[in-house]
Amino acid sequence: MTLFYLFGAVAVIASLLVIAQRNPIYSVLLLIASFGALSGLYVLLDAPFVAVTQIIVYAGAIMVLFLFVVMLLNAPHEETEHDEKIHPLRRPGAMRFGAVLAAALVVELLWALTRSSGEPGAFGATAVSSVRELGRVLFTEYAFPFEVTSVLILVAMVGAVVLAKRDPRAHT
């Protein structure tokens, strides 16, 4: 239980610091720390495969790309600094939209946390710890969502390439 509180505290504090940081590089690093703590929680749940996948996919692959982009932009500070001096109601639309989304997230979280949690499903901890079982379930029962997700990622990739390769003169 001590370990649970340790990893939980690291995950929560690191996540809070992610949004409290001014320097985007530190935000990325703290997010990695948070993912690492989450992975520790998965180990405590007796799911080493999920824990290691969390490190490989999120902390390893995705965050490296984040770091890559932040480094290439070389943005030492966030660009919102001068916006914060303006009165809250006169800030740009994106910031107000973000505030609305954040409020919606808080409401959703409160709703989800206050609901009485039922029994955990049949897909229990023993099933997650076995890679064989995980693979079988993924490619039979959850095959459709799995394939749809891969198509979604493909669409995002094609979209990114189209946006990056678009000729700016074509519109003028």
Partner: protein, 341 residues
């Protein structure tokens, strides 16, 4: 404390110490082999045949001044070498290097010659390899120097590109070995085919072995893929601004990573500690011989092949190595399904 626990702690400290040692030995071997390949003598003054040269190097590094660029981000600048070195050490924790042993009857029950027997060991190694990119990237960024930054960017691009082939090559061995645990994979390679050929996975996965070795060189940033520190273009790449012990930590990490990649290759493809002539309890000698041979290959290659061009590296990684690795994985899976190896 039970004797078993003491043995386990002793084993852990032993592995740590031997990894440090292996880096020192590799520095000496690298310099000696390089010298012979270039018809020089190499280090020969310090100690008999220059054997104490690594010790002299360490002392020299320790007494050097620790420099830090004025505009560097001091926290990340100090953190980066620590990430590199600790990732290098951590990866070896799941590598088994010998059969279960009681140390000639000293212990009541046998212990594994391995720091931690994790049942997803292969993935743990892969995860730690993907984390070690941060050491190099952060070193490049926090130095606030253009050469360092370019080195860091190159290394992240290179490691991301080659990690895919590396992982796919690993996956095809997992399919053949039918397990994610390194101990199980090694034990699956005991015995012989037709009483002559050892049942090593290299004979089932020749292509996989080549892909693993190539991607392994790229992952450890060794020549001919040493772009993050390409001297002629980038001074010294990501560690241009480092000196003294922080530089030594990057150096250490590179050599330990080489040892780990070779040890994993031995476990996955070369039958680990299984070999003819020696009894099971002395299998670690075979392990050392195989790792040593692979390490020699690394050094040999570094002083034989010139560095690629950066676009050649990317073309090779994405257009040749990755498709080959994927085809290899598909063929392996089909073969296992059809023949039921």
């Amino acid at each position: 404390m039970t004797p078993l626990l003491i043995a386990q702690i002793g084993l852990t400290l032993f592995v740590f110490f031997m990894l440090l040692n292996s880096a020192a030995i590799m520095v000496y071997v690298e310099r000696k082999v390089a010298a012979f390949l270039q018809q020089r003598l190499g280090p020969y003054l310090v100690g008999p045949k220059g054997l104490l040269q690594p010790l002299a190097d360490v002392i020299k590094l320790m007494f050097k001044e620790e420099l830090r660029p004025k505009a560097a981000d001091w926290f990340l600048f100090a953190l980066a070498p620590i990430i590199s070195a600790s990732c290098a050490f951590a990866a070896f924790a799941v590598v088994p290097f010998g059969a279960e042993t009681t140390f000639f009857g000293l212990l009541s029950e046998p212990i594994k010659l391995q720091v931690a027997d994790v049942n997803v060991a292969v993935l743990v190694i892969f995860a730690i390899a993907s984390m070690s990119v941060y050491g190099i990237v952060l070193a490049g960024w926090s130095s606030n120097s253009k050469y360092s930054l370019l080195g860091g960017l190159r290394s992240s691009a290179q490691m991301i590109s080659y990690e895919l082939s590396y992982g796919t090559a690993l996956a095809s061995v997992l399919v053949v070995g039918n397990s994610l645990s390194l101990t199980d994979i090694v034990n699956g390679q005991s015995g012989y085919w037709f009483h002559v050929i050892p049942r090593w996975f290299i004979f089932l996965q020749p292509l996989g072995f080549l892909i693993y070795l190539t991607a392994g060189v790229a992952e450890t940033n060794r020549a001919p893929f040493d772009f993050p520190e390409a001297e002629q273009e980038l001074v010294a790449g990501y560690h241009t601004e480092y000196s003294s012990m922080s530089f030594a930590m990057f150096f250490l990490a590179e050599y330990i990573n080489m040892v780990t990649v070779s040890a994993v290759a031995t476990d996955l493809f070369l039958g680990g500690w299984h070999g003819p002539l020696l009894p099971e309890s002395l299998g670690w000698i075979w392990f050392l011989i195989k790792v040593g041979a692979l390490l020699f290959f690394y050094v040999w290659m570094r002083w034989t092949l010139p560095r690629y061009r950066y676009d050649q590296l990317m073309t090779f990684g994405w257009k040749i190595l990755l498709p080959l690795a994927v085809v290899n994985l598909l063929a392996t899976a089909a073969g296992v399904l059809y023949f039921g190896v």
